[in-house]
C-alpha cells in the first residue's frame, strides 16, 4: 500500500494544490478516469470545509490530507476544529437554500455537505480519536493494474 501525505496552512489558496495532488495520486492508484472529476470535487470540498473551520476558530494548525491506495483509493482530510462545529444542512431543500435568512457562508456549508454526500458513495465523517477535530474519510474503487 502506497501513501502520500500533505499538510497545508489553512488558507483557501492551498485547497487547489490539495485537489491537484488528490487527483494525481488517484490516477496513479488506478481510479477510473470517469471518477476523477468526483475525486477532484470531493477532495476540494473536504479541504475547503477544513480550512473554513480552522479560520472560524482561529486555528493555525495545518490541515492534513492522507491518501493511500490498496483495495480502494482512500483520502482522509483531518481538521483540528471542535467536532460539533457547523450546522447540519445536508439535504436542505432548494427553496430553503435560497432563503433570505441564511448567510452565504451557511448556504455554502450546506451545499458543500450535500455535494460531498452526493459524489462520494463511501463517505464517513467522524471525530478524530486523538487531539480533537474531525476526519472526513472518502474511498473510491480502483482498477487493478494488469499483472
Amino acid at each position: 500500500m502506497a501513501k502520500v501525505t500533505l499538510s497545508f496552512t489553512p488558507a483557501p489558496v492551498h485547497v487547489r494544490t490539495a485537489r491537484l495532488v488528490g487527483v494525481a495520486v488517484a490516477r496513479r492508484a488506478g481510479v477510473a478516469e470517469e471518477l476523477l472529476d468526483e475525486v477532484r470535487l470531493a477532495v476540494g470540498e473536504a479541504c475547503a470545509r477544513a480550512v473554513a473551520l480552522h479560520r472560524q476558530y482561529g486555528l493555525a494548525d495545518l490541515v492534513r490530507v492522507e491518501m493511500s491506495d490498496g483495495p480502494a483509493y482512500t483520502v482522509r482530510v483531518i481538521d483540528r476544529a471542535p467536532a460539533e462545529a457547523g450546522p447540519d444542512l445536508t439535504g436542505l431543500p432548494p427553496d430553503k437554500l435560497a432563503n433570505e435568512a441564511l448567510t452565504d457562508e451557511a448556504v455554502t456549508v450546506g451545499v458543500g455537505l450535500t455535494l460531498l454526500a452526493g459524489v462520494v458513495d463511501d463517505l464517513q465523517v467522524r471525530p478524530v480519536d486523538e487531539g480533537g477535530g474531525t476526519e472526513v474519510r472518502m474511498a473510491w474503487p480502483v482498477k487493478r493494474w494488469p499483472v
Binding site: R16, A48, A98, D104, V111, L115, V119
Partner: protein, 118 residues
C-alpha cells in the same frame, strides 16, 4: 487555471462570462464582480459558465447570493451551462430547480425576455 471574468451587454441583459476555476480561493472575486454589477444597475443578469473548469460549493453559494440580491430589486439571474460535469453538481444540490439553466446565451436571453426567468 485562474479565474477570468468578462462582462458584456446583449440588449437589456448583462452577460458575465466566467472562465477557469471557481473555488474557495477565487469565489470572492466572482462575488465582488456580481455585487458590483447589481449595485451598478444590472437587473437581467446572465452568468455564462461555459468556460468554467471547476465549480465548488463556494461558487454555488456566491451564485445563490447574487440571486437573492437580484430578487430584492426585481431582477433575474439565468445561468448558461452545457457541461455535464457542472450540470451534475446543480442536480445533486437540487439547485437546478432554483436557477434557470440554459445551454446557450441566446436561449438564456430569449427565455428571460419572454418572462420565464428567475
Amino acid at each position: 487555471m485562474e479565474l477570468s471574468l468578462t462582462t458584456r451587454s446583449i440588449g437589456a441583459h448583462t452577460v458575465l462570462e466566467v472562465g477557469g476555476e471557481v473555488d474557495v480561493y477565487t469565489a470572492t472575486r466572482l462575488r465582488e464582480r456580481l455585487v458590483e454589477l447589481i449595485d451598478g444597475g444590472a437587473r437581467r443578469l446572465v452568468v455564462d459558465l461555459g468556460r468554467v473548469d471547476f465549480l465548488d460549493s463556494t461558487g454555488l453559494g456566491v451564485l445563490i447570493g447574487a440571486l437573492k440580491r437580484l430578487r430584492t430589486v426585481n431582477g433575474t439571474l439565468a445561468l448558461v451551462c452545457d457541461k455535464e460535469s457542472l450540470l451534475k453538481i446543480f442536480r445533486i444540490t437540487a439547485l437546478d430547480q432554483v436557477f434557470p439553466i440554459h445551454p446557450t446565451i441566446d436561449a438564456a436571453t430569449a427565455a428571460d425576455s419572454s418572462g420565464s426567468g428567475a
